[in-house]
Amino acid sequence: MNRRSRGPTVQRFTLAQRVEHFFLILSFNILAFTGLPQKYFYTGWAERIIRLMGGIETTRLIHRTFAVLLILQSLYHIGAVLAARRAGRERGAMGLGFTDFRNVLLDMAYLAGLRREKPSFGRYDYRQKFEYWAVVWGTAIMATTGLIMWFPELLARLVPGVLVPAARVAHGGEAILAIVAVIIWHFYNAHFRPDIFPMDPAMFTGRMEVERLRHEHAEEYVRLMETGDLVPEAVSPPEVEPARPATPSPSEDQNSSS
């Protein structure tokens, strides 16, 4: 498959989801940039970054501002998923199941050359699901431990204070895990895979070529064909989704990941 082919496309992400992803890039990067020098405060580069931002107080202010943004964004995301679920637009395509763990093993066997066939994936493959749930788990940990460190006096009214130093260790560990996971996993899967290098445009255009969908998300392709969502007229015009009140439209799933 030629990645530069311009065949008919299908919508993968709504505009709201792409905006969400943009804000996630923004908050994640600024949080990493202002957080890492706090963890590695004893190094020369950390000192330079903190000096650049006008001292530790300003660095913490920026860090906490974007932390609040990320928390608000997460609350919005939960709200959007719940709303989509209530409206029947959400099919749980991001849900993890036994199949995903089986797919990891099958895919590893395929990649190692032990199997001829690549396992067929649904709307999101196991890589995307793991990454999505890693963001959910990571944000939950970071928000909780961050708030504990921000308001230790309040916390220690309710629970033992030893959670404060423990939260600090977890915040640093989780941060490193998240940053390195993004650099290895997300950058590889969304940027450096030879098929998509220099980047997978789906999260920015919101669309994916049908041909690519057929290869990489075979089960989703079959499902769309069966529900009649992949008739040529429906897929060629960009952005416009014909109204289909009866059938649930998968393109409006609220889960964001490329």
Binding site: I56, A112, V169, A170, L177, R193
Partner: protein, 303 residues
Amino acid sequence: MGRLPLLFVSLTAFAVLLLAGAAAAQAAQEEEACLSCHAAEGLTLTLPGKESLPVTIDPKIFKQSVHGSVLTCATCHPNNTQYPHPKVAAKTLRDYKVARAEICQTCHSDVAKEFAGSIHGRALVMGFPDVPSCTSCHGAHDVVQASTPAFRNNTPQLCGTCHGDPRIMAKYGLRPVYEAYIREFHGVTTTLYKLTKPYSPTPAAICYDCHGVHNIKDTNDPAALVAAGNILTTCRKCHPTAGRLFASAWTEHATPGPQASPLVYYVQVFYRLLIPSVLGFLVMLSVLDLGRWAGDRLKGLRG
């Protein structure tokens, strides 16, 4: 108000100025006499114990010190106004420093009394060789204002000279705590203030905020500010809304381990295992994926 009191005041002021001027002139003359020898570089005095005591004075450093404009040489060295000077009684450098500290009491008697009751003061009298006296922390001719941000931000390092040295601490059955403090939340902020904002005092707690200054007590002493019964009150100096359980957030300058702060330690262990295993797995999958792509390409399966 009549003319007379005004005249009286003027005359008194004039007399004071004159005397002060004369005193200043005398002091300057006297200092010049001392410095005619003591400004010479590399001047030392060999004590009976074979240690050598540097006796060179940099007049610039002394002038800039907190005492530079109020004290003269003779204020602290009254025995040395004559030349040749009387023989120094101290046999070692240590004896000399301890003996010299007594002159500070002339003016700083309150502090000296406080210090005498402190763990350092008591140990000093008992003759332990590493215990600080006045000049150990404040210097001799280069005493700086202790209320400056620079002095505050540098305090942990100052205390760390001894309390970060395992060799010295072991002699007294103490743990070195400096490194652990620096890695705690308070220590991080203080270090960053020292590095990036040397002219602002760190808002985070430093050694003397919790342990006291000249009245510092053994941490096992029930009267210590950090003793179990007092620690919450001490925390509340900066954290006024701290709840009952707040003091248990304190890891006592100890590196977390299975005994000391086990929860913190096991969180540390958890991430120490989780990070490499997750990353190893992700790298493996990415390498496999890249390998398959390269293999397919070699076989001509991909364009």
